[in-house]
Amino acid sequence: MSASLQRGINVLKEMIDAPVASFFSSCVHCGLCAEACLFYTETGDPKYTPIHKLEPLRRVYSQEYTLLGRVGKMLGLSKALTDDELETWSELVYDSCTMCGRCSLVCPVGNDIVYMVRKLREGMAVSGHAPKDLRATTRRTIEIGSPMGVKWPAVQHVIQRQETETGLKIPVDQQGAEIMVLLSSMEVINYPEYLGALAKIFHKTGTRWTLSSKAIEATNAGIQIGASDLAREIVARIVTAAEGLGVKKVLSPECGHAYMALRWEGPNLMGRPFKFEVVHVLELLDEWRRAGKLKVKDKFKTPVTLHDPCQIVRRGGVLEAPELLLEQVVSEYRPMTDPNKWNWCCGGGGGTSAIHEPDAEQLRFKAFQVKKRQIEETGVDTVVTFCANCRIVIEEAFDHYGMNTKLLGLTELLAQHLED
């Protein structure tokens, strides 16, 4: 079996619902969503207008689910969707959309545009129009268990190193632990100190926690590419492991879309609520902070600013915790313009960072200019964030632009300054 246009359209027909119909019926082509999209603001190319990226979905909606559209299609007044068009749109739906959801926030008629992009990607994926890099990533996640091809032995190696560095035991497959911790491949490869930081914090709070050898990977390429069937398979691994261990909470790591995949999409993919709670690491830390369990010995002296990862803040709803935690540990925090839910994307969300085509990469760097401006306006040279993907994208961009700016993970920063 293989991808086909017909399968794509069929999936779109499944995906279209009352909100989609309402949104398309409300659009007045005011173009304000363009101003919210970093791919438009940084390039000035009108084809990056968010609502325009949804044209294929709109066509299917109109032709399949409206009486006038059906009649028009029958009379040959509107053309059916073609593979060529979808191929053209692939760039708009994947390369130039990070599903950051900023457009959904500004639309004057209230259209949730990113809600529809997510649906359109379903059709794009099974009609074979997802970028090949994303397809490869998805394949690795399904076959190997991780988008970056990280296997359990590699994780074990990280565990051992962090145990040595912290002098603390990192539990694995502990039946009845309170919290099961997930990691993202990026953390395993690029930021292993995150695991050590967690071990320290759990040790100080006396929390019984565990990793699972069956489900270490939190990221979900199925969500990014827009294939729910695959996303479900990936989520199911975590659900099986967590429910098998009988944990109360599953800790989503510093990774944007992982939180989206598990916290908000997971139960819908599985078709049932979970028997455990999905918590983002910052939510947990903030809970402890409020309970007085998180005391810092000193503060980070360098002024910092905060980059809010879209999927955790704007789309995930972890709105206040990051700033409250940051203010606890730094002596000077200078918010960016458009902070919190209004923040601009790093340019690499929604699977975009996995696309390594030269055009897509150049576009990503161009889109990063908005973040660059935001950082420069604060006048600081240290940026804190809490998404491994954002970190990679931002660091790449720092290199690209030759910026001498440091980037820190919030959890690690906290761990470093905790009371002994």
Binding site: I16, D17, A18, P19, V20, A21, S22, F23, S25, S26, C27, V28, H29, C30, G31, L32, A34, E35, A36, Y40, G44, P46, K47, T49, I51, H52, Y65, T66, L67, L68, S104, L105, V106, C107, P108, V109, G110, N111, D112, Y115, R263, W264, E265, G266, P267, N268, M270, G271, R272, P273, E277, R314, R315, G316, G317, V318, L319, D338, K341, W342
Partner: protein
Amino acid sequence: MNAMQFLAWVRGPGLDISVGILLLGVIWRLLEIYTLGRKPDLAPARRRAGASGWHTLYRRSLPAPGGLSRSPISYVGGYTFHIGLAIVVFLFAPHILLASSLVGLSWPGLPSPVIDGVTVITLAAMLVMLFDRINKPVKRYLSTFEDYFTWALTFLPVLTGYLAVKHLLLPYATMLAVHILCVELLLIALPFTKLFHAITVFGSRWYNGQINGRRGVPV
């Protein structure tokens, strides 16, 4: 057909037909759109969605932070012509009379000179919006025939209404008839074009507010 026959037709059968089509279209389209249904969200809500939908209904009436300076014409023009239209449509004495004869409700209106002024401002704002649509790359790129067509359908009733009241161009009776005819065309087109946003805007904002409200994000 002379002016009075024309006027009698638009006030009689014309109004009947257009209001009929409007009603037919609105009910049809509302059912068409909102019976598509949606799956229940099985993810446990961070916070009960509660009145999030209603909040968003209100919140989206205000410009997004920074939006006003980034798209001043869209916002200022948009506000001006929407508010202007509302004032002219709902606070001009003869219109109130029409409403009271159709639905039995009446409310105080504004003096004619005020309505005149608002009408001129509304027309100007609509012209600016048209100019902006042609001038601004994004808007021009997005625009289809429908965008210009619906603009004309909205502009003409205001223009002809003004000309009728001011006795310009055509004799009053003829212009009044043309005005009513233009309004009738607007009513007929409303359910089947983007003008339907006048109704679905509430549903769309509500959905957006509700979807994101469960996640704890006030949109």
